[in-house]
Amino acid sequence: MTSHNLQVRNLRVYYHTPRGAVKAVDDVSFNLKAGERFGLVGESGSGKTTLVMALLRMIKPPGQIESGQVWLDGQDVMALSEEEMRQLRLAGIALVAQGSMNSLNPVTRIKRQLIDGMKDHAFASTEGTAHERHGRNDKGGKMSRRALDAHARDLLTRVGLEPQVAAMYPHELSGGMKQRVCIAMAISLRPKLIIADEPTSALDVVVQMQVMETLRRVQEEVGAAVILVGHDMGLMAQFVERVGVMYAGKLVEVSPVRDIFRRPLHPYAQLLIDSVPSLEEKDDLEGIPGLPPSLLERPSGCLFHPRCPHATAACAAQEQALQEVQPNRWVACHLVESIHKNF
């Protein structure tokens, strides 16, 4: 168990509305190894962003973390005080949010913005090769201004930008460059986990490839695990090692990326993969039939059964929990064995 860098156990996040509780994340459990790249996919409203925000304890009312545990490197995240949690953000868990490039302050130079977080977290270091030594406590005293500047320039070089970018304002940079600045910020304190929530959804394909490859490179250098949130199965195939498929607030399949693309076990994962248009052959252009359920009026039994092409009476009656059906392959479906005969 200790080999896992992040452990999430029975996490539940509900939004309390006048019409009842919306179960945006319902009993989700998964583990991440140190340095692992994990993809979280699902349609809009499946709860993937709520899930990662809960890891950062950034759920705002009417949302509330109902129950569950999150452990990061043996530290119980849910038990931390507000101040300890504030220190853990960026230093322990960093976020590259959707469209975070638009979150840069337009009237402040890039350098200031990179340094801000480091200063706030009392980024400490002894003299010399400043940026190679990292501690999050105050023991070594705060870094000198010069060392912080050097560190900022070093961070920019790491994400493939010119050090001169430090002196620029956000409007002087392209979207891809801004997104790389955000990645530089995310790795500035060598976090153990980087959460990337649709980091490239606003970028062109060529720039997307550059940004994702940059993220992969720095993540490997820093040794951080990554959770990539998105709905682009193509991007998942290119970037992550393991995929978790979310549907209506629940994980319905968690499998290594090659396995899930070769043979998805959950019918929903199958449909998601089939709905990716191909560059090789012209498809029928069919999406997934039906709509995701309203989280206020959830169907009985398996939440996917009204849209599932294989659904039986048993599916409407009872829900199947996520279980390991093959080594490292977890799926929540009654029909795994009947659909996949040669199991």
Partner: protein, 344 residues
Amino acid sequence: MSALLEVQHITKIFGGGLFSRSRTVALENFSLAIDSEPPSITAVVGESGSGKTTLARILLGLETPTEGQVLYQGKNLRALSDAEWHTFRRDVQVIFQDPFEVYNPFYKVDHVLTTPIAKFGLAKSRQERQALIEEVLHAVGLRPENTLGRRPHQLSGGQRQRIMVARALLLRPRLIVADEPVSMIDASLRATVLGNLRQLNEEFGISVLYITHDLTTAYQISENIIVMYAGSVAEAGDVDLVVQRPQHPYTQLLIGSVPQPDPDRRWNIEAMAASSALPTRENTCCKFVKRCPHAMPKCAESAPPLFQTDQHRLAACYLHEESPSISAEDMVSVFVGRGDNARA
């Protein structure tokens, strides 16, 4: 016979006024003719800043080109009479990128369907209006009972965008300009909206100009494709040829960057190093020269014309200069559908 909608040698420059030092050439000497017979689907593909949205806005009459003209049935868009303008507004419909912004949250979604009916006097009675609305909703695969009477926020992005397709269909236009219609909706819902566009083309004989940054969806629905780079055409022609065997280095870079849903087929990382430079916006050289892995001295000296490398394909690249060159306004003559008709 003149084309339904045509742009001739248009150039659009933003900025560059008397006191401004910066000017951006968004579109340069671009020509395109769109016929309504036979109905076709043409894709315009390019990254941010390639001029594709400027082209859409000029075609719709929302923007005036700096040079060149827009012709609707052979007549300059600026010289149309009120009556002709009215027909133009009916013949040419648009579907915008953002299915959230186009709805007024205070109205029910019915509003976007009843307004054009009233504006163009399509129905004489309430029943007739209802029948029309139900017909177009069915055509795009929506159930009227689950759609009408709702507020925009009660519907998904995909549903809202399908209502926009239904609205366009209501007017039985001859051309739909769809500017990134699926880029803001879930991947799993994209196929349905694209399927609707293809259906409009096949069943109702409506031509579609599909503007996108996404090569994959362009490949899926169009017959011909125009790959734009920094305001100029890089490659154009039969979509199968362009996507399966791209000849312009820019098209090759684009296709290599598409994330394939297959973990064993990695995207083309080698192309990355060369690809970070910004496009050159001078018209005295190839705009791709700084990013091109095959750049030759010639490429920096003059802009390449369109070379016809196949019966149905053009590439603006000196790597193909042994092929005959063709002038920009004749681009569509190599398109699939048009050339075939001419011979028949």
